[in-house]
């Protein structure tokens, strides 16, 4: 099958630096003395912790259960004892903390229950649930829960499945090595994904600077029908989901829509690999391959358990002495780690040791000269310089109008900017500010609604109370009138005889009296009503006992009434 190649606009060609870390095969990291597993490792809500300090866990045991469907489970990466469940600093640009489970491995690496599933016999819904409970998320870096991406749209199926092996960002080689070494498993994972969405065809997009990976994937998928391995031209960001979909199918997906709406969906090769492990071996996602490169003695790819402290991994790569910081992710989209000793997460595809010689400090930011270089480089076909002006002026409405949410933050614009403007920083600021404003607005709207409802309720209750009171008074008055007509007949007649002038006053007086009398009667009725009723249906013996007790009580009361005798 020959797939037509479309191209996306823009992009840049930075030095790839992929050679350094592709010479050695993937090595398995030794068990670290401690594992720190953050509970929130995917888009969506943080899972709820299922373990407490002191508890023993087995490898693959679920330690964080997904809250709702828009989340993914977290598992113990090895067997051992839970030391603590407390907030720890995350590998996140903010350097903020969130709940992490700290595990001390027992060294046995003993698996818990593993139930392999024959996917051909299972329903897509069951498979999606297995993937959610196995904590499978997109391993390309966005960590979007895979089971959500596998939900077909209205059609009930997704026509084209795209497998992303482009790995366009410099330095990163973890997917390359995975495809070279474990192509068979990836191919089986692809078959499972294909089965879930009943896709007609599968396109595996790999940048043409990875001939070995292309060959391996071609051999592995040779026997499957309608699976094509398509080399895509090497140009950053060919591995961006939207860019790859566009390059392979010509479909453009706007912001806020999903691939499913366009009959296409995209998964990373590492995700396909972990899907295969989850279904065919019953192993949840507890490890991933991390590229260690940059300013290190031994650049390599390591299969590390999720939660392994990064400095444990760095020991294997031996960073050089002049390393001044570490970057997680690639040099284009990654961020400087706020500290070492932070754990590997599902998003950690690459750790780069940076030194001033390798990544010379960017020059001072100069004014934008509107040269338009960024517009030519933008793969999302936006106008980065306009977005820059609007973001800088905090004119968010206008920035949104110019499509800032379509920006994938690939960094091409900042890469080509002759004025060294950190454009992406401005976009990130604008985007997160807008999200915050939106969230605050939703909260304010809810508060307004609740306040208005409360005011309404208060008024209604007041009106109801007034109505009740009026009804009660009216009823009482009526009753009094009824009583007043018969009872005080003689005095009324007497007053009538005495002075006809007092006549209108008398009934009012009587009414009041009658009202008071009625109220007293009511209270008395209530009082007499409050009698112990649990003594009614009892055996004669019990009743005799009660009588005895009551007489004793009476006696005591009598005694209490008589004044105490004076001491002699």
């Amino acid at each position: 099958m020959i797939a037509a190649l479309f191209s996306f606009k823009g992009g840049v060609k930075p030095a790839s630096h992929k050679d350094e870390s592709t010479h050695a095969p993937i090595i398995r990291a030794p068990l670290p003395p401690r594992l720190i597993v953050p509970l929130r490792q995917s888009a969506g809500g943080a899972p709820r912790a299922l373990v407490a300090a002191g508890q023993n866990v087995l490898k693959g045991e679920c330690i964080g259960s997904p809250e709702g469907d828009f989340s993914s489970a977290i598992h113990a990466p090895t067997s051992g004892r839970v030391l603590s469940v407390e907030p720890r600093m995350l590998p996140h640009p903010s350097g903020l903390s969130a709940l992490c489970v700290e595990i001390e491995p027992d060294g046995e690496d003993r698996w818990g229950d593993r139930t392999p599933v024959n996917y051909t016999a299972a329903s897509p819904d069951a498979l999606r649930d297995i993937l959610r409970d196995a904590g499978i998320v997109g391993l390309g870096g966005a960590t979007f829960p895979s089971h959500l991406k596998l939900k077909p749209g209205a059609a009930g199926r997704i026509g084209t499945l795209i497998i992303n092996g482009a790995e366009c960002e410099p330095w990163i080689t973890c997917d390359d090595l995975l495809m070279r070494e474990r192509a068979t498993e990836i191919a089986r994972g692809i078959a499972i994904l294909r089965h879930i969405v009943s896709a007609e065809r599968v396109l595996v997009g790999i940048e043409d600077n990875k001939p070995q990976a292309i060959a391996a994937m071609r051999t592995a998928t040779a026997r499957s029908e309608d699976v094509a391995v398509v080399p895509v031209p090497t140009r950053y960001p060919a591995g961006g989901e939207k860019q790859l979909i566009h390059a392979l199918t010509g479909i453009e997906i706007p912001y806020g829509r999903f691939g499913t709406d366009f009959d296409v969906q995209c998964f990373n090769v590492a995700t396909a690999y972990s899907v295969q492990r989850a279904i065919e071996l019953g192993e949840p996602l507890v490890s991933r391959i991390v590229t260690l490169s940059g300013n290190v003695e031994r650049p390599c790819n390591i299969e590390a358990l999720i939660g392994t402290p990064i400095d444990e991994l760095l020991k294997l790569a031996a960073p050089k002495a002049d390393t001044d910081r570490y970057i997680m992710g690639g040099p284009m989209m990654g961020f400087t780690l706020p500290a070492t000793g932070l754990p590997v997460t599902k998003a950690a595809n690459c750790i780069i040791a940076a030194s001033p010689t390798l990544f010379p400090p960017q020059g001072a930011e100069m004014p934008c000269i509107r040269c338009g270089a960024c517009t030519r480089a933008c793969p999302a076909e936006l106008q980065p310089h306009e977005l820059y002006w609007f973001s800088r002026a905090k004119n968010f409405g206008k920035a949104q109008e110019y499509g800032i949410f379509d920006c994938i933050e690939c960094g091409c614009c900042a890469y080509v900017c002759p004025s060294n403007i950190r454009l992406v920083d401005y976009y990130r600021f604008a985007k997160s500010s807008m999200r915050t404003l939106e969230r605050e607005k939703a909260v304010a709207d809810a508060a307004r609604e609740r306040f208005e409802f409360r005011t309404l309720r208060d008024e209604r209750e007041k009106a109801e109370k007034a109505a009740r009171l009026a009804a009660k008074t009216a009823a009482g008055r009526q009753a009094a009138e009824g009583a007043g007509a018969t009872k005080p007949a003689t005095p009324a007649a007497a007053t009538q005889a005495q002075s006809p002038a007092d006549k209108p006053l008398a009934p009012l007086d009587d009414q009041k009296k009658a009202l008071i009398a009625a109220a007293i009667q009511r209270v008395q009725a209530q009082k007499s009503g409050v009698q112990p009723k649990n003594t009614d249906n009892l055996t004669p013996e019990k009743q005799a006992e009660i009588r005895e007790i009551e007489s004793r009580r009476d006696k005591v009361r009598e005694l209490a009434k008589t004044p105490p005798e004076e001491p002699v």
């Binding site: 969130a98 401005y426 990130r428 600021f429 307004r448 609740r450 409360r454």
Partner: protein, 184 residues
Amino acid sequence: MVSALLVMAGIALVLGAMLGFASIRFKVKGDPLVDKIDAILPQTQCGQCGFPGCKPYAQAIAKGEVEINQCPPGGEEGIRKLADLLGKEFKPLSAEHGVEKPKQVAIIHEDVCIGCTLCIQACPVDAIVGAAKQMHTIVAPLCTGCELCVPPCPVDCIDMVTVPETVETWKWRYPVIRLKEQAA
């Protein structure tokens, strides 16, 4: 001459009828300005402005009876937005109405609470759950941090705590351009 007058009068009549129809058909219910002002106000319903809620304050602003700098939770940003909307001059927050604070939520110390329901009656947004002689608790996502529940509490078991920044609510800072490298 007469025909010209008739034509002009006819046009005037037709246009007048259209305007009259439009004024009835497209009548705007309520005051749109009040809604616009209300949308800027933070909906804390704290009453620090001297009005029983954000809407009454918005109405008073729309009538031009009060200053726009009486809302501490809205802060400086809120005043700027109001000034922009109403074409008024920006004024710093008036000190007698309070000071701008980071977003807070109330927390009830549940072992101290005696279940008097006074805070429930004070809460403007029904964010407190409880019943007489039963422990009360705050529904934190609904709490606006208005502090109205704090004074009525007879046992002082309500505290205001600042909402910490989490990874979900964290936002990128405004890029700061350093013109000169600072000396270490």
